[in-house]
Symmetry: C4
Subunit: 269 residues, 4 copies
Amino acid sequence: MPHWKFKLHEVIYEADTPAGKVFDIALLFVIIISVILVMMESVSSLLEKYSYAFYVAEWVITAIFTVEYILRIVAINKPKRYIFSFYGMVDLLSTLPSYIGFIFGGANLLFAIRALRLLRIFRILKITRYIGESRKLVNALNNSRAKIFVFLFAVFIICIIAGTLMHLVEGEGGGFDNIPLSIYWCIVTLTTVGFGDIAPITPLGRLIASFIMITGYGIIAVPTGIVSAEYSKATEKPIKNTQVCPNCNESRHLDNAEFCHKCGYLLNE
Amino acid sequence: MPHWKFKLHEVIYEADTPAGKVFDIALLFVIIISVILVMMESVSSLLEKYSYAFYVAEWVITAIFTVEYILRIVAINKPKRYIFSFYGMVDLLSTLPSYIGFIFGGANLLFAIRALRLLRIFRILKITRYIGESRKLVNALNNSRAKIFVFLFAVFIICIIAGTLMHLVEGEGGGFDNIPLSIYWCIVTLTTVGFGDIAPITPLGRLIASFIMITGYGIIAVPTGIVSAEYSKATEKPIKNTQVCPNCNESRHLDNAEFCHKCGYLLNE
Amino acid sequence: MPHWKFKLHEVIYEADTPAGKVFDIALLFVIIISVILVMMESVSSLLEKYSYAFYVAEWVITAIFTVEYILRIVAINKPKRYIFSFYGMVDLLSTLPSYIGFIFGGANLLFAIRALRLLRIFRILKITRYIGESRKLVNALNNSRAKIFVFLFAVFIICIIAGTLMHLVEGEGGGFDNIPLSIYWCIVTLTTVGFGDIAPITPLGRLIASFIMITGYGIIAVPTGIVSAEYSKATEKPIKNTQVCPNCNESRHLDNAEFCHKCGYLLNE
Amino acid sequence: MPHWKFKLHEVIYEADTPAGKVFDIALLFVIIISVILVMMESVSSLLEKYSYAFYVAEWVITAIFTVEYILRIVAINKPKRYIFSFYGMVDLLSTLPSYIGFIFGGANLLFAIRALRLLRIFRILKITRYIGESRKLVNALNNSRAKIFVFLFAVFIICIIAGTLMHLVEGEGGGFDNIPLSIYWCIVTLTTVGFGDIAPITPLGRLIASFIMITGYGIIAVPTGIVSAEYSKATEKPIKNTQVCPNCNESRHLDNAEFCHKCGYLLNE
């Protein structure tokens, strides 16, 4: 591995050196701008006014992302490892849309291509690298993942049953025209979102809706209780002092102990 | 009990052997398809197009369920135990609708029969057999069931009182025409669902609504706190001291015990 | 106190004897019916059809409540203690409305009187007597009351500030015509109720609304955390064993300890 | 520092003496009235009727606040410390609006000035001084601030991704005309607010919405779990052992300590 490659790898892939930090923050900045650009392009009034500016900005960002992608491949000894990693795929997909739009052209196709461009948003996920706290959160979620999944599955079954019931009770004509729609309404209601675009009209439907709502309000306690317990367990500090008294073998000592509290023998000779 | 019956029982009721596993997963697959079919039939545009396909699929699934039901009765020594169990009833009820529709016929009746068919959805509950984690969740819920029930009852009383108050304040004409409707609105609001099909218009009504909302937002902490505490208690580690008295075999000792608290014998010679 | 009075007191005020239990459950039944009657009377279509039945039922319930109220006064030695207690006041207020309607008459006045009748609903609060679990809940809430109050007060201040901000940003014409209305909207949003009768239209208003919603979603954790911690503390069992070793004075013993675990001395001579 | 200045400082800045308490409560009263006045002025029907009364009340409150501000500066030895403190800035900003309106005049300008007046609401924050419990809450929030921030950031990223997805799926014409709007809808949905002014119409959009809602319902457990754990840790009892070594004065000992762990001296002679 030549020196320049080693240096490049340090700058691009690591964030310990000043140069690496500058690179990462600059890249983050470009990513945020690219995300904001995609958002602004979707606003039709802005697109009409500044269509040329958007066009230029798109190509500038595409150029930057292309150079970055090539450098990433060059800087690593086993490029396949990067290319087929999650971030490698995301990097490639967020670079491609402009090129595809250039080659195939056509107004209709451009819309579908713009869809691919939106994947560039995944780039922003890199931000989590900068925040150390996120690891603790992820651990807490990982430990309780299985239980929360079972819970959400149970919630989904309740929604299917309650949804079909509501379809039968409310009948067609209102918003409960078919079972999938009723299940959708049930999820909206049980999660206490409650859009109100669909709402029961019949007294019996409203009674069932009341039960669904109270159920949703009551069982939200379950995932919370699980995460709380898992998180408490994770952050509990065990006594880490491993001193054992050479005289009486007492093993539980305070961190600053110098003598055994059981027999008075000197601990650290 | 002949060998084939023993073998059949193993396949149908158990999931330890490969054959049993295949049977259970295949059955689960058929149940999911039957649930999806019922959902799709309820979408009128699909029903018009594919009514014949639905008709055939219905009878195929009914046939599979019928065979399964007979096999279950045959494979067990005391069939009554299965027939009158919860799953036995559900299995029977999810098999019947097509037959009832065939015998009694008539377009109007068919709708009511379709209602019974929806019970087939309860079959999906069998899925929980496959997920071990669900038991822990059920335990956590069971321990806090009484307290959460009292809580939800208190919530219901608050809703009755606040509902009648809102009916008096908002008067008729808006959505608070009668007390049951106002109570329904109150449940919608207190559980933070908030459809918006009914909403207070008078200033006083809005003031009371604000209090109801803040109450709902504040007391959601109660069930959560209960479940958290119960769940923490359930996962708390028992006394880890492994000393056993060499004299009387008592095994539960305090961490700093030197003598057996049962017989006074010296523990650590 | 004559024997019949003692007997009557036992039946009416206590629930230990069979007669007392029957009385309480019968009364509860009448109260629930009276609550349902008030609800049904408020539904105009039902009132038109069954106005005579409602009239009769009203007087029957009023008669029962009157007899009960007199018996309660007779059965107690110091009637003032009952009359001026919370339940005494509620019992009286739930008996009066029919009499007031009879004496003063008039269609318009009857409506206001019906308002008083609704207080009869408070009778239902007696139900809590039958459920022992409620005490634990009330304790948990009492301990965390002060903290939750401070929290809700902070929420209210946030609502005032955010409400005035929204009024200025959204301006008049939409639903944010004045500050009290904007504060109401803010409470609806922060508590995640979200009726949707008022919703921001301007981009800046929607940005602020997003912050309010995320704040509401994030800080709901606070009351929950408080109640969880208080409840955990409350249900933690302290070591209740009060034995002290007569030899070495060690005071922390397991519940079934017979010998001191410190010196081996016999605890219970 | 002359005696009157010392006395004044005691009355204005402290709340231990009766005079100080009276001053603080009176000031609180004026602040609440000023907040209510600003609210009432924003209601156009009230403003038309009582415009003169509002004018007078505005100047009375401005006068009181001006006198208070001057007294605060006079009563302190280092006025800069007060003037540039948070409360000093708020006090000044809540006094200025009326003067600015008087000097510059003009109907249009008055509206913008009224905006500044609304800052007077921040005065109400002083109320927290009177409630000691708030400190515990603030501590609990401070400890979990970083983690909750990371969580809310993750929520925001989910909203960006889901928002762009919804824009593509629902297309223009409905409420998902552009990406910022779709992200706004996503925040409304994920936080379980659910206004309903924007709601998905296409089946695929509704399916994605269901996932967003269930996600929002499930992950609300995370901040709650964090705060619960932090709060539990904060309220945990410290080591209660009151033994102090007679030799080296070390005061932190394990509950079952017999010898000082610092110097080996016998603790309980």
